[in-house]
């Protein structure tokens, strides 16, 4: 679905993402983990075109099987139109319009009807239907007419995913969908992640190790910009480099509890 070759991004002397070779399969749920400052968000920004790489390439393969297409340097709008959609770590929605409109306007972007300026928006039934279907899927249907900024934090996280889904993505990049969600509501979001992973390729950034180990098909660990481990959850859990990265010099004392 999506792969990078030697992807590098430098900020002055700092190498935030360092020659990352990564590939995400068609119906895979891959988690990207790493300590704070490892370059996870920079990596996301490189994939979606918010930042352009200093070096290397991002490539995308669509379902129709016409091979890999290079998308390096495409703008965020272009990568979105090509099927790469993301959710944000910090809730980033359209605050003063309704929940339904948040999702509808994203569905409209995917259908490319935004340039129509002479017909009433109400005549485009299909966008309302699609938006409503997505709200039902993420469990926000009963809040469809609430103003987005009045949602609780947990519901706002669901909306965050709903907007990303409305673009009919091939690849879904979820940046900490659980950030700040209380422990009771986490299950709801986890169910949502597992649900969307059934029909999308998902790359998930997550800090909660229990969730990562439970839902992922594969785990990739990033540390100081480089991939230090890549494999099934069990293997990564026992990887010595990963322990080193997460626990620093304290691994001997912590050994018994981890």
């Amino acid at each position: 679905m999506l792969r990078t070759r030697g992807l590098t991004r430098r900020f002055g002397g700092l190498v935030a993402v360092d020659h990352v070779d990564f590939e995400l399969g068609g119906d895979e749920l891959c988690s990207l983990i790493g300590p704070n400052g490892a370059g996870k968000t920079t990596f996301f920004n490189l994939l979606t075109g918010v930042l352009s790489p200093s070096d290397g390439a991002v490539e995308l393969r669509s379902d129709d099987g016409d091979g890999w297409r290079e998308v390096t340097g495409a703008s965020p709008a272009e990568t979105a139109r090509m099927g790469v959609h993301r959710s944000y770590q910090i809730t980033n929605v359209f605050p003063t319009v309704s929940v339904l409109e948040n999702v509808r306007v994203a569905a409209q972007a995917d259908a490319d009807t935004g340039r129509r300026f002479h017909r009433n928006v109400g005549t485009f039934d299909e966008h309302y239907e699609e938006a409503y279907g997505i709200l039902e899927r993420v469990g926000l249907a009963d809040r469809a007419h609430a103003t987005a900024e009045n949602l609780s934090h947990g519901a706002a996280r669901q909306l965050e995913v709903a907007i990303a889904l409305a673009g009919d993505p091939d690849v879904l990049l979820l940046d900490e969908p659980n950030a700040g969600v209380s422990s009771e509501s986490v299950d709801q979001i986890v169910d949502l992640i597992e649900d969307v992973a059934t029909d999308h390729a998902v790359l998930l950034v997550e800090h909660n190790m229990d969730i990562v180990m439970n839902v992922s098909d594969r785990v990739v660990v990033l540390d100081r910009g480089s991939v230090i481990a890549d494999g099934p959850p069990e293997d990564v859990r026992n990887d010595e480099d990963v322990r080193q990265a997460y626990l620093g010099g304290y691994e001997r004392e912590e050994e018994g509890t981890v």
Binding site: T48, S75, P76, A77, E78, A80, R81, H85, R86, Y88, N92, V93, F94, P95, T96, V97, L100, E101, R104, V105, A106, Q108, A109, D110, T113, G114, R115, R116, F117, H118, R119, N120, V121, G122, T123, F124, D125, H127, Y128, Y132, A144, H145, I163, A166, G167
Partner: protein, 446 residues
Amino acid sequence: MFLWFARRVSRVKRRWGVISTETVDRETAVDTDESWVREYARDHVAHLLVVAAFGVYPLLYSLLVALGGGVAGAFLPRPETMTAVFYFGLFAMSFDFISGYTGYLSFGHAAFYGTGGYFVVLVANGKVPLLPADTPFMVSMVLAGVLAALLAVVIGSVSFRLSGVYFAMITLGFAQVMYVFMRDWGFLSSNPRDGVAVSNDLHPAGFEIGIPGVDALNLAIGPLRGDEIEWLFLDLGATEVSYYMVGLVVLVCYFAMQRMVHSPFGRVLVAIRENEERARAVGYNTFRYKLGAFAASAFFAGVAGALFAGVRRSVSPDNSLYFLVSGDALLASIIGGFGTLAGPLYGWLFDRSVVEFLSKTGAGGGLLPLLREYLPGSVVEAQLVGGMTFGEGIEVFLNGHAPLYLGAVFVAFVVYVPGGLLGWVRNRLGGTVAKQLPAYLAKLRR
């Protein structure tokens, strides 16, 4: 066609519960036993009421002034003022179309207003290549709008690389460059600093609004060269004819802009205002959308400028291109309601009414002449502090201080009515006036 359209909309809304169950019941009744005319009329009852109110205003004004004399004249703006409210209101609406809906403050919007104004006057003076002096006003007005839109594409393609206060500043910069240039360009007239007037030799006829080429469907505007109509019991002078014809163009422009605001395109503009980063992330090329909106907005600003110059038969740098003209549009938008399309027109109406009410001469009368005329002598002579009489007091406080009081009103609006007049009304009704008014009226009837 309308029936099909309205049913489609109500069907979708009903299914997704956009409207409450109570309204759904009424709408179901509409589908079965009411004609689409009535349904359409109800959807637009607010528009119809406003248009009707503006339609009868000049007649009502002359009637009330004839009956009530100075009192009615003091409180009601004159039809001349109302004509100015129309064309400047259109300019303020076009300003709000870009600034209120996309959130990009176009502080150099006067450039487009001035473009429209200068263009029609220069065409009438035969100074524009390929366009003869007798080009119909309707044609030169539309071309003025197109020219303004092209200018917007040029200015916008540079300015939209910036955002926030930098965008406001760079558009202001463009407008000021144009202001200085037009003020000193000798080609325009013998004294470009004072502006350009339509030459009475080259273009003696008034500017006509109507369908170009069909003489019977055109009426000239302007206080001196406007047409007059006598029809049945109606006797409309040049002022009233200008009022109606300018109002008609503004109405058409308003509906065109309203259509855009409620289209998928308009929703993208709101998405850009709300969160441009996310709008990009869901797949909109926001730069193009902003540029398109800017060009559309400039088109209507150009038309407004053309109407302004058409009524006055002249245009000057200071009343069309100067940055305070944009400032007035901002003022009208804030008083009327930022991000509501019709709001700026009401805002400017409010502003002009207050100015006229407090103005020192007020040809139609104002507060001061009213007090002078109606206060009994004993009150006027009454002593206040420091040996000043009440009569002297009102002269001191009212004579020529309209802008001062208006400033206070503006401050009060920003602090207490941040949504503006129309925003406040919407807040009270719980939705747009067009949507809520029918239900409200139905409740009153029961």
